[in-house]
Amino acid sequence: MSKRVAYFVTCIIDALFPDIGEAALDVLERQAVQVEFPEAQTCCGQPAFNAGFQEESRKVAEHFLDVFKGYDAIVTPSGSCAAMVRHYYPELFKAHPRRDEALDIAAKTFEFTQFLVDELGVTDVGAAMSKPTRAAIHDSCHGLREMHIDRQPRALLSHVKHLTLTELAGHDQCCGFGGLFAIKMGEISSAMLKDKMLNINAADADIIITGDASCMMHMNGGLSRNQSKKRVVHIAEVLAGRI
């Protein structure tokens, strides 16, 4: 019996970056993974959770539990949203009647590159860049520190044709996004982004690759405002051969 795999596209990719959503789905389908897209999905609840609104977050998380019930795996192209489900659902439902359900869903939720490398055992997805490209990785914080995603994207990217991986100084340093942090603490967030852009502009790389669309959006927002030629792309776009 084949496994039932659900695709959680995340609210931000759904609304703002549908190309990335399709790219990740393409990559999964090329690995002969039958992926379902439960249409009732919305958000994992992280924005409210991080702002301290746990009750509101829990209600949205309950909707997530309803939508993704019964799947063998839930795959999402975001280290941050995966970390929310995997690490914070157990906390959020600690003293809740749906605790066991939350623990079950948490254990079955995987970030996209983690699913490819650790679950499917795939490191070569047969991707190629449209032209020879130098690229450096920005390790998004939640993926890196809560999901321990660091070797998986590197393994996958090492097989992409016409792609040379270079180093980004401060590759594990936060870009300053932090969700509502970027609004609540706008000045600090902007100062952090400035530090990040200094490193990006100094990097010997045409593009920066990351695993979270939110960090990507933040860095690109700063780069375009400052007329930088550098751009940040999502790893799914690279692996789908769309760059």
């Binding site: 609304a15 249409e39 977050s57 209600k59 609540k184 959006m217 933040h218």
Partner: protein, 474 residues
């Protein structure tokens, strides 16, 4: 401006524009991070060492009341005395009483964050007692009428150039940019102060309960001189600093120095077990240990107890991109950086520091650097939850969150919201597809960054077509 956690937002703006501070922060935090990474990297397995450190701290905290009593018994057996202080004022009063009792005119101080909590220097000076900081950094801070901006490097906010200017202006030092020359000059000024002091006051890095020994680490020898030369030594510590055994000390002391200054060992490791004995040629005649609570017992049995495991190495400050940009003073109290954003609200009361729990992007670099694995992001999240429960957010935020929740509980409302955003942002962004300006509070984003317009079709809308295409082709 009086530093106060309540002024956080305005302090941040000032700090971000201070070019001298930004230079000092870049240099100081980079040095701190690189030193720690190198020193932890040369251990056989840094993560195993951290685990051992964490377990040592847990052993201590789990048995805290017993260990404190054991510590007291052993300090007394060694010929010292133990004084208990409920809060900072009580600690200051106890030390002031000792000064009066022993006719103390001059005090030489080793570095102590506990006395920064109590503002001991001011309390003693108000009674005509001369207090001389003997740690170079603390001395510079005292000379400038300043406060430390870092737990380990008190003058991290000052460039060496600014320090030279201060020493030149206040003490007539010939101008130099060589830290060694500055140190030599200050040493000349300071030597006499140890000899003149009637009392030495020090902090405590660890107190080893099983033998009643207090341990300090330092690099200048000033702590050793301050505690050894005067006739009285008073050590002051927060009650969480007690540990069980020498084995635990062996683990923790190297975690401390490797994480704090990137040293395998500090230059001086002072281990003090009571006053001078009859057979010993020197040392203080009297030894007092002040055990200060000052809010700690209030954390002890809560879900924030983990914060008491902190060994004050400062690694989380150095590695924090927020601290790297705003420095220590903006946090407004003794303990800055990520750990400060946790313990300031806990020790002072959350209403006294309501912005600090939000002063983090939750990137987790602090947790990864912490030598005793303190989960700082988790506690920041819990403090934010407490703030929401206490009614801190504005009505707009509350209403916004409720609205968001409703929309996210319903795919239909979610799509409606997306369609509205598509229409709205499409108009604002125009041809460029980039939004350059949004109304408050979203202008906090667009002041420095573009925001993308929502594309005409969301992923879920595309999925409908994708499915239809797949069905048509199959």
């Amino acid at each position: 401006m009086e530093t106060n956690p309540k002024n956080f937002m305005s302090s941040v703006v000032i700090a971000l524009q201070d070019i001298q501070l930004q230079t000092a922060l870049d240099r100081g935090t980079t040095r701190g991070v690189n030193g720690r990474i190198a020193a932890m990297g040369e251990t056989t397995d840094a993560n195993v060492l951290r685990r051992q450190g964490r377990l040592a701290r847990e052993r201590a905290l789990n048995a805290l009341p017993d260990l404190l009593e054991q510590l007291e018994r052993n300090v007394v057996a060694n010929g010292g005395q133990v004084l208990w202080a409920r809060d900072g004022d009580e600690a200051n009063q106890l030390i002031l009483d000792l000064c009066k009792q022993h006719n103390v005119q001059r005090v030489s101080k080793g570095k102590s964050m506990a006395t920064e909590e109590t503002k001991l220097n001011h309390a003693l000076e108000a009674h005509g007692i001369e207090v001389n900081e003997s740690d170079l950094g603390e001395y510079i801070v005292q000379l400038a009428g300043d406060t430390p901006s870092h737990i380990v490097f008190p003058t991290l906010h000052k460039t060496k150039e600014a320090t030279a200017q201060l020493l030149h202006d206040k003490l007539g030092m010939p101008m130099t940019d060589q830290p060694e020359e500055m140190t030599r000059f200050v040493r000349g000024v300071m030597r006499q102060k140890y000899l003149e002091a009637d009392m030495g006051i020090s902090g405590v890095n660890f107190a080893i309960a099983e033998t009643g020994t207090i341990a300090t680490v330092e690099n200048e020898g000033n702590n050793r001189l301050s505690t050894g030369a005067p006739r009285i030594h008073v050590a002051i510590m927060g009650i969480e600093k007690v540990i069980a055994t020498w084995e635990d000390y062996a683990v923790l002391v190297q975690l401390l120095t490797r994480s704090a200054t990137g040293q395998r060992m500090s230059v001086y490791n002072n281990l003090m077990s009571g006053p001078k004995r009859a057979s010993e040629p020197d040392g203080p005649e009297l030894f007092y240990l002040v055990l200060m609570d000052n809010g700690r017992s209030g954390i002890y049995e809560t879900e924030y107890a983990e914060s008491l495991a902190c060994i004050r190495c400062g690694a989380c400050l150095n590695v924090c991109p927020v601290y790297q940009n705003i420095g220590g003073h903006a946090y407004g109290w003794v303990y800055p950086g990520p750990i400060g954003s946790v313990i300031s609200p806990l020790l002072l009361g959350i209403e006294e520091a309501p912005k600090l729990p939000y002063a983090s992007s939750l990137c987790g670099a602090c947790m990864a650097a912490c030598p005793v694995e303190i989960n700082i992001p988790d506690m920041l999240l819990k403090l934010r939850r407490d703030l929401v429960k206490a009614g801190d957010p504005t009505l707009e935020w509350k209403a916004g969150m409720k609205l968001w929740q409703r929309a996210m509980q319903s795919p239909r409302l979610f799509l409606l919201g997306v369609k509205m955003a598509q229409a709205g942002t499409g108009v604002i962004a125009g041809k460029s597809g980039k939004i350059k300006s949004l109304p408050p509070p979203l202008n906090a984003w667009t002041n420095s960054r573009d925001f993308p317009a929502f594309p005409k079709e969301s992923f879920r809308e595309r999925m409908k077509k994708r499915k239809a295409n797949q069905q048509a082709s199959s």
